[in-house]
Symmetry: C2
Subunit: 271 residues, 2 copies
């Protein structure tokens, strides 16, 4: 049973409303049922949303929390008549910017997560780059890379490369250190020649063994002993070669990516 219902509503993607709502509500210890309703683009749809909200209130006596952004003022007013605690997510900041800068806002539909503001082509190009240069499958394109992630198998290279591409337009290649390399692990020439682009990932051995066991249960590859050995070798290499690195064990792909952007001083959409 949920303590409360929260709605995220917009005539666009509702991503902004969701981000603010999730961030706000994550500070409270409550069981919340989250409902996202994007592209509420006409009066009929808006009225349906209102009756859905009102039904929940009628059923359990608790006002839903409604986070929203609307460009269309008429639709917004319809939503604001719902029996709910309403949060117009951008209003507090918009008014303050207007006051501080002495300029007036000119809202546009689908402003934030549209093609125009998101440098669509850069991101798709970067994603194609990440997929083509995943897991060391080609290494002749490293001159184009913004960053080359290195690490042992299953330390988080692929998701991080793709996240960097999709969200920031960063061209991230990745290169795996495999078991055959582990006797006296050194940097291959192709990586040495791109040393300033290297960023290392590492992970706790127990976590790595658990991840590998999901794929290849009870294999040597997934054994704790093997994982420990590989991680010891790569971490030694990172230190010796002064490659910046991060232990990904307790971080999400967002956190890992934000740290890499920051430590490598990468600029988004810089092509």
């Amino acid at each position: 049973m949920f303590d409360h219902h929260a709605f995220y509503i917009s005539d666009g993607t509702a991503i902004t409303a969701e981000t603010v709502g999730h961030a706000t509500l994550s500070q409270f210890e409550m069981q919340i049922e989250h409902v996202t309703l994007p592209f509420i683009e006409n009066i009929e749809m808006a009225k349906k949303v209102v009756s859905r909200i009102n039904q929940i209130y009628a059923a359990n006596g608790k006002m839903p929390l409604v986070f929203y952004t609307f460009v269309d003022q008429q639709l917004k007013e319809i939503i604001e008549h719902a029996k709910a605690v309403c949060f117009d997510v951008l209003i507090p900041f918009t008014s303050k910017v207007e006051l501080a800068l002495g300029v007036t806002a000119t809202p546009k539909l689908h402003r934030t997560h549209s093609m125009k503001t998101n440098r669509y082509d850069y991101r798709i190009e970067a994603m194609n780059y990440a997929l083509a240069n995943d897991d060391g499958q080609t290494m002749q394109n490293y001159a184009d890379a913004d960053v080359i992630l290195v690490g042992v198998s299953r330390s988080g290279k692929t998701p991080t490369s793709i996240y960097l591409a999709l969200n920031y337009g960063i061209k991230a290649a990745n290169y795996p250190f495999i078991e055959d390399d582990m006797d006296e692990l050194t940097l291959p020439a192709i990586l040495k020649n791109n040393k300033k682009k290297l960023f290392g990932l590492t992970i706790d051995a127990k976590r790595l063994a658990a991840i590998r066991n999901e794929r290849y249960a009870n294999s040597k590859y997934a054994s704790l002993r093997q994982c420990r050995m590989e991680l010891r070798e790569v971490e030694r290499l990172y230190r010796k070669s002064k490659i910046p690195f991060i232990n990904t064990t307790s971080f999400s792909v967002e956190e890992i990516s934000a740290k890499i952007m920051s430590e490598m001083a990468l600029e988004r959409f810089n092509h």
Copy 2:
């Protein structure tokens, strides 16, 4: 030359501050230099940020706009002493939720974009699924799919599949209709058996030809005539087979994904 500087600062990823800041500022017609500073985790770092902000103000006489979220109150107060227009991104909503529900917020570090709140394992599993089931390379796993995207080559299937996986933990396979299929295009048996999971992508022929020309310039594959023919055939199939579909030409991957989530009534992290 920039009209203004905007900073997005946090002791976490700064993704929430960025989202709110970008959405707010996209409503204003100004040239803005955007600077994101994540993981400002100690007093020394916070003080450096403040002097960076103050230098900009001293240099051009315009107060930077600073959007931030901090769990650490001491760090937050340091930032708030900068010569800037300050936006504590969560405060307006947090106070209102506290009032409305009669409960108190208990902020935690890295709350929003951390592993715990992001269902990390689901998302990585979904991403591995998307990569393994990209472009029709395997079709025996469709029973596990939440959605199967179909469309001609380069209509946006791969980026959308991966975005759905990384952001929502949705298992999205994708299947390409290729030229050999185009004479009397019908649904292959494997797709017929999973018909309720199908979602079609289409795109304007000119845009498709431009995208294909980047890869294979002046090929038959990239010709406007070929693109028109393929798109006419797939759109006819979508209509005949009652497959919901979207024209991706003017939409970002966020918008396409949000529309698919909504139209297919997909639930995030439902595994």
